[in-house]
């Protein structure tokens, strides 16, 4: 049998807190982080957002980064989350050269580009930010803040970027390329994204209501999260306590439309099915699904259909925690993975806030956080533009 992949560290920064403890409390107390815009400079104050409640200078001071050093918010958020994950996994600096860092993003340094783009064209004054525009730059900034990772890569598959980063990391371990991979993603809010999603008319002016019959779109969020994936033998050798296991995963393409999901949720169905097969689990062994559940009419209908196709009449408890964090786009796969880890560790079902009425023939999401049975295996879905659909199976870690 193949050696299990353990999760030996996790860090999360989102609208519901700056670490796992804060995220856990918010989830248990049903405290959403979505609210009026406070930090993003935008004219669109009519849309609630899930911001990380810190300004850039506040994050700089937490991390000890000088106010003069050029940096981007995606990198700052990433550093906060990575710091928690590395500390959790007890990663010493000398172990990092053997480890890989895989960080998904799409927005990269767009927060500075959208501010200085016209200056970029006209002067040399903001060249430092031209150099941090691309996605790879943000991953390198995050990695280099902590030392010398031996491998760094940036998958960019829109809203499934972080989930795919975790899949790439797991494949590196399975194929013998690495023993430890820190994987996840980071994405800050930008006017670029807010206006882009607004132009597609998929932003809700109210707090989002995933899987509700009256759902009217998503709320954008921001954040970062990373998990430390580790070969079981390496974790044992390093005597680090596992938080959970990554038992399987699937990556598929809906191959339907650039921004819409197929009515039957083909890509979602294949991704979930592959993840189950990969984990060697039957559908009834899944005890919770953290849905992609953006709150747009299209996604939730298509994802519901895919879940019903796979699970038949026995769809396990489902919720979208985007009702807490907002849609953190490229970071969402990792943020929701960490939420699943918390659910497994603390044996609760994250609820789906603001849900009132079922979609006709749709699924009824979790509103009571008490599980009816032990939560052993959970599925975490992340879907992106272009139909880049991925699904992860996370499992409870038991001491033997």
């Amino acid at each position: 049998m193949e050696e299990p992949i353990l999760i030996t560290g996790a860090g999360i920064v989102s609208a519901i807190g700056l670490n796992k403890q804060e995220a856990l409390e918010s989830l248990l107390l049903r405290r959403s982080g979505i609210g009026p815009v406070r930090y993003l400079q935008t004219a669109h104050t009519e849309f609630p957002v899930g911001e990380v409640k810190l300004s850039n200078s506040e994050i700089r001071s937490i991390l000890g980064i000088a106010d003069t050093a050029p940096t981007i918010r995606t990198a700052l958020l990433g550093m906060l989350a990575l710091k928690e994950a590395l500390a959790d996994a007890n990663m010493a600096e000398q172990e990092m050269s053997e480890a890989a860092f895989i960080s998904g993003t799409t927005v990269g340094g767009m927060d500075k580009s959208e501010r200085y783009y016209l200056d970029f064209l006209a002067t040399d004054n903001y060249n430092a930010y031209i150099a941090t525009h691309d996605c790879g730059a943000s991953s390198e900034l995050i990695a280099d803040h902590f030392g010398r990772f031996g491998f760094v890569a940036t998958p960019s598959t829109a809203c499934s970027s972080a989930a795919n980063a975790i899949i790439v990391g797991a494949n590196m371990i399975r194929s013998g390329m690495a023993d430890i991979v820190v994987a996840g993603g980071s994405e800050c809010l930008t006017r670029f994204h807010l206006n882009g999603f607004n132009s597609l008319m998929i932003l809700d002016r109210e707090p989002c209501r995933p899987f509700d019959a009256a759902r009217a779109g998503l709320n954008l969020g921001e954040g970062a999260a990373y998990v430390v994936l580790e070969r079981a033998s390496s974790a044992m050798k390093r005597r680090v306590k596992p938080l959970a296991r990554l038992d399987g995963y699937g990556n598929a393409c809906d191959a339907f439309h650039q921004t819409a999901s197929s009515p039957d949720g083909d890509g979602a169905y294949i991704a979930m099915q592959e993840a189950l097969t990969d984990a060697g689990l039957a559908p009834q062994e899944i005890h919770y699904i953290n849905a992609h559940g953006t709150g747009t009419p299209n996604n939730d209908a298509s994802e519901s259909r895919a879940m019903q196709r796979l699970f038949g009449g026995q769809v396990p408890p489902v919720s979208s925690t985007k009702s807490f964090t907002g849609h953190t786009t490229s970071a969402s796969g990792a943020i929701e993975t960490v939420i699943c880890i918390l659910a497994l560790q603390h044996q609760f079902l994250p609820v789906n806030l603001h849900w009132r009425h079922p979609i006709e023939g749709g699924i009824v999401p979790v509103t009571d956080s008490r599980p009816s049975r032990e939560i052993r295996h959970v599925l975490c879905n992340s879907f992106g533009f272009g139909g880049n659909d991925s699904s992860l199976v996370l499992s409870k870690y038991d001491e033997r």
């Binding site: 031209i130 890569a153 139909g387």
Partner: protein, 345 residues
């Protein structure tokens, strides 16, 4: 271990598109910025597609279609893309409208096709390929990371075929920006250009150009670790530096960039003949896709064009047996790939 072959390799670039005439009659440029020579898209795409899609998308689709026609494989098990900046033309449209006109009246068209993964997903949508699909956006290593992921998928026996491509478009404004940061546009430098190059990898040898024998990527290595990385790769592929017909590097006339290659080659690969390709295809974040493309055809045809040689070590007259591709970014990120002539060919 099962072998991995390159069954086809196609390009659209500043050389004649979709052919290998650059081997015998390369087009030379003395300009800092050159846009790609496009084929007649109408031969490959529907009128709506030629009208609606951005340049990089059309080029990506057309290289994939050319590969499908050549190999009969139109629906690969996996589609992997490397792109430094993604769909820049669309991104810029949206960004510029946002910066000049503010946050109203923005049309969704450009935003919808601005994300980096638009390219790989368009390839999947057009060919109805529902398999593994991923995009890497990581500076000059974007394509290499996609190639290594494909390598991994083969090793894990998850796929039998994969389309792996490097794609970037270079708009006039973005040329200005990349020139400002000294990445391209220098006086003596190969032109800033655009990338669309793809290879079809397969576990079956049928009509293949060459074998993808192995690869390694390493970030911020110490000199010892870099040396060890290369040694491991050579050992894994059963080669020594003496068996390498040549090393193909990303030198492009930019002093800072070239110094990293010269330095590393002096220490790691003394006496190995050196080749270049960016003088032909230009500089761009995903330009390393042209190295794989070009080396695959050199091995397939059994010849290395003289205009690719540089440096003082002469290339042997006989057909190349194994070519090491060496790519790096900022002297921080390194990639080595070994392509090998087919056995018995």
């Amino acid at each position: 271990m099962k072998k991995i072959y390159i069954r086809a390799a196609e390009q659209i670039s500043i050389q004649q598109p979709l052919c290998q005439t650059w081997m015998t009659s390369p087009i030379g440029y003395d300009a800092p910025y050159v846009r790609a020579i496009d084929p007649d898209f109408r031969e490959f795409l529907a009128p709506a597609e030629t009208r609606r899609l951005s340049k990089v998308l059309k080029r990506a689709l057309v290289t994939a279609i050319a590969i499908a026609r050549e190999t009969g494989i139109g629906q690969p098990d996996a589609i992997l893309a490397g792109t430094g900046l993604g769909c820049m033309e669309n991104t810029e449209h949206f960004l510029e409208a946002l910066c000049r006109n503010g946050e109203s009246m923005l049309s969704p068209t450009h935003f919808m096709q601005s994300t980096h993964n638009t390219i790989a997903s368009s390839l999947a949508i057009r060919s109805k390929s529902q398999g593994y699909n991923i995009t890497y956006a990581h500076k000059d290593l974007s394509f290499d990371l996609a190639l290594q992921d494909a390598w991994m998928q083969f090793r894990l026996d998850r796929i039998g075929t994969a389309l792996v491509g490097g794609y970037d478009e270079l708009t006039p404004s973005y040329f200005t920006l990349l020139k400002r940061i000294g990445y391209l546009g220098g006086e003596t430098q190969a032109p800033g250009a655009e990338t669309a190059a793809a290879v079809l990898l397969s576990s079956e040898q049928q009509n293949a150009l060459c074998e993808l024998a192995g690869m390694r990527i390493v970030y911020r290595p110490t000199p010892e670790r870099l040396k060890q990385t290369l040694a491991d790769l050579l050992a894994e592929t059963g080669l020594t530096t003496a068996n390498l017909s040549a090393v193909m590097t990303g030198v492009n006339g930019n002093a800072k960039n070239d110094a990293v290659y010269h330095n590393a080659i002096e220490h790691l690969l003394p006496g190995v003949p050196t080749l270049r390709y960016k003088h032909l295809f230009g500089t761009n974040y995903s330009a390393s896709a042209y190295a794989v493309y070009a080396a695959a055809h050199c091995l397939g045809q059994g010849i290395v064009p003289a205009h690719m040689h540089y440096g003082s070590v002469p290339v042997a007259e006989c057909p190349p047996q194994a070519i090491l591709l060496f790519n790096q970014s900022d002297g921080k990120h390194y990639s080595f790939t070994v392509l090998r002539k087919l056995c018995g060919s």
